[in-house]
């Protein structure tokens, strides 16, 4: 399983902070994003944003980065701290 986390407006728009996804047929962060986006129109709209960022195991990553069973993958918008 892959533990997927959502933050800020992504979390708010999806209405959930995390989901567990079966990783059997997933090899990249982009595939995970596409699988989640295919659930319904709302998820597609939120996750298809061209500003969406991804972190794998708490490190900022690229969409083509490899994911594997047990990983923590987070989706979030551009950061605005400070």
């Amino acid at each position: 399983m892959i533990n997927v986390l959502f933050f800020a407006q992504v979390r708010e728009l999806l209405g959930t902070a995390s989901v567990q996804v079966d990783s059997a047929e997933l090899t990249t962060a982009a595939e995970l994003r596409a699988l989640l986006a295919s659930q319904n129109d709302k998820w597609a709209q939120v996750l298809d944003s061209d500003k969406l960022l991804v972190a794998i195991n708490q490190t900022m990553s690229q969409w083509h980065a490899t994911i594997k069973d047990g990983d923590e993958v987070a989706f979030f918008p551009p950061v605005t701290g400070g």
């Binding site: 933050f7 407006q9 708490q58 979030f76 918008p77 701290g81």
Partner: protein, 155 residues
Amino acid sequence: MQANKIIVQTEDFDVAAEYAAIANDNSDGAVVTFVGKVRDFNDGAEVTDLTLEHYPGMTENVLQQIAVEARERWPLNCVTIIHRVGTMHLGEQIVFIGVTSAHRKAAFAACEFLIDFLKTKAPFWKLEASPDGRHWVDARDSDEQAAKAWNNGDK
């Protein structure tokens, strides 16, 4: 060289205490601090309070990495980064950065570098409240440009 002090907390911080903690080494001729506060406007709109969300675990790791990068660029002694999360009201302190060095140029530059990188790399998100409701703050291109300028050699 002292270890980096990196803290993410809901409580307010005491600038005098943080200053005292880093300003006690007589080999440092320079102490530079920065405090970010909740201001009463953003993009022309009135702001009543601000809520900061973060990614626990990743945030602390990123702040450590940024501090390590600063040490690779300048000869620093103390580096303190304290960032608050949760809801803060007008005038409240959000972030403290404190840097000490033998000379002022390194301390000034490192402090600016740390806040520029924190704003674009650390997973914090601001939710502003105004009389019209709440909205998430958009990332600014100018913040991204400021961080990139360090890598382009423009700063």
